[in-house]
Amino acid sequence: MNLDDILELAAAHQPSTLDRARSRRAAERVLREHAKATAEGRNLLGDLDVEDVLGPHADEASRIKRAAESAQAGWVRWDAPARELTWSGEMSRMFGYPAVSTHVAMEVLRDGVHPEDRARVRAEVARGWARRAPVEVTFRLLRAEDGTVRYVQCLVELLSDDGETPTGIIATAHDVTRRELDRQEHSRRRRRDRIGPVDPGGPHPVGGLAGRDCFLRALDRAARSGPGALLVVAIEPARALPDEPAEQVIRTVSGVLGQIVPDGDLFGSLSPGEFGVLFRDAETAAETAASVHHQLALTTAGGMRLRAWGGLVAFTGEDPASGHDLLLDAVWAGREGRRKRPGVLSVLAGPRPARARTDAVRAEVGAVLRANRLCLYAQPILDLTLNEVTRHEILLRVLDEAGRPQPPAAFLAMAERGEEIVAVDRWVVEHSLALIGRGPQTARYQINLSGRTLSSPGLADFVLRTLDRHEVDPRAITFEITESAAIDDLDAAATFAEAVRNRGCELALDDFGTGYSSLLILKRLPIDQVKIDGDFVAGLRESEFDRIAVGAVVAMCRALGIRTAAEFVGDAETIDLLRGIGVDFAQGYAIERPQPMPSPAAAPQPVATPLCSRAIG
């Protein structure tokens, strides 16, 4: 079946008996209404043409003009032989002029069309004239009176006395502003809905647990609205396990929590081997928590007996403690309890005083630093233009009780709460530069500095002296400003930035697009490189939002003379996408995982993994 078949079939349409009956009823209704309206003296004609439009008319142009006028549309006519341009009062009003003159200058028409639409309108009209075809064109009209803009739809028709030779043009114009705005709004909403708001941090990929960020957000809310209780349990062994058995442990723990924790209470994974439960009922929390603790100690996962210790802290919702404070307190309680009474859940009746918490944090960070329980890793960064590793980011690892390196997220979050982060950052600068100074210095290194450290007094002096002491070429060093804490004092940070950049170091802004890593920092500090937060990179292949956001950041940075880097690059396709978007550097497991220093740092080599070589072109 094609169009002609359907046209033919439709033409065979004959009214049914039902249709005829409906017509008769409709006719009666019209006559009844008409009689009623006449009796009431109502006018039924509305804006109906009072003359027979089909009757004889002088010429086509005056007929079209009259039709336009009765439809409240404007018209403008070009009479070719007379070289005369005339317009209607309505058209004149549309352009923002009083309707006094019927003649109009070409310049007036041209200037009334929005500059961005002028070329298009001219081309359309020229096309219509050349092809002797009508054109419909929608454009913006710039009203002379007040500079406001209206959308106008124009039907541009060719006039011809004999139906052959064109003798002029007549254009009828309707104001379609509302329709056009509706259309734009409609397509805007469609685009917005298609890209949609992206759900932050869904369930943990293993065992349906909430992730750390998700759990912390819920905890922060609970700490303000309380009451409730927070349980943190640490599980051994979990930290040092390879991926597969570690996931087995998470699944097992998740199963136990799912059975005991009341419906509606949240539980999540905080770090490897550390789990949190947020109870809404503080009364029954102690009992449930004790049962969780007890049950976990009786559980085996993958043939291994689990060991558990934990701390519970109750809160009222009116304490001055934040979610993170509560977390510190619960972890502290668990650790203290394990030392004093192993095997028993340690319970705090409420958050510790801020002072005690600060002191404990200071003591703990101090102990880690004194015992040198920190070590450095380096993660290669791929230069996407050269397809070669030219840089490394230096990362911190904290050694646990058994001397195994652990990710530093919890440790740094703790240190960043006080001044301790400055000491940690200085430790990193000192030890990194020492290691780099011993190596061949062929690669560049990126060292993290917290926002708090950046504005601490004497930092520039310390950094420059350390560079000299270890004979490190400053041009090989980039300092990354991390976003996790706000920069206290932008002026002090600017002073530091100026001092180290004068010596040849570069500055990078880490985690761009999240938290405190804002445009304002980009504006106030002489940043050389922006590292786009992994949140926008990890899902780049699937997420249109991420591609648009990364593309916009790259375009902005290019214009500002800033290079861009992407973190959390997970696969070769993402590398290709990033190269296509124009990102300068990529970092992530697709390139290489962090390796302990100094081995790769001592002899950094251009790494060409199979992934990288495939990523060419």
Partner: protein
Amino acid sequence: MPNPPAAEEEAGAEKLRQAALDATFTGFFTRNHLDVEVFLQRLEADRGMIEDVTQEAFMAIRAKWEDVQHYEDPRAYVMGAARNILRRHQKQRGRTPTLFIDDLSLPEIAAPATPREAADRLAGWIQLLPPRMGEVMSLSRDGHPDRKIALLLGISHNTVREYKVEARRKLLQLAEDDGFTVPAGRRRK
């Protein structure tokens, strides 16, 4: 006191005149009512609005039926009036119809089996044309010559001719998009 005989006579004559008008109008109405509705259905999807517009148009025609009945083509005149009223109603609806071509998902469309289904399918396509082109197409489907369409819509002959060609091209495209490409055999049931 009884009415003067002259006035009574005049009222009676007026009554007769109106009754005669009612009679000829009813004939006109039943002959054309469905065609006007079909014509409007090609310009608007909302059947309720079409019913209102049809009634309003015929009431206006009835109000000046005395003149209109002598017009060159009363049927074409009522279509023109209905089209004007429809456009006014559409404008007053607040939001313009939110049916845009890119919205259409493409479910499998069954081939129309009856003339009514074919007319509905066709109406659906004509609604997707630019408004003025849809009007030209719809009037032309109703059998009006180009000259009359130009007069009714207040556009030039040239425009009507061009729009008919352009509308057919677009309809072919729409039909193709909906999977109607292969001509049926001439002997269709």
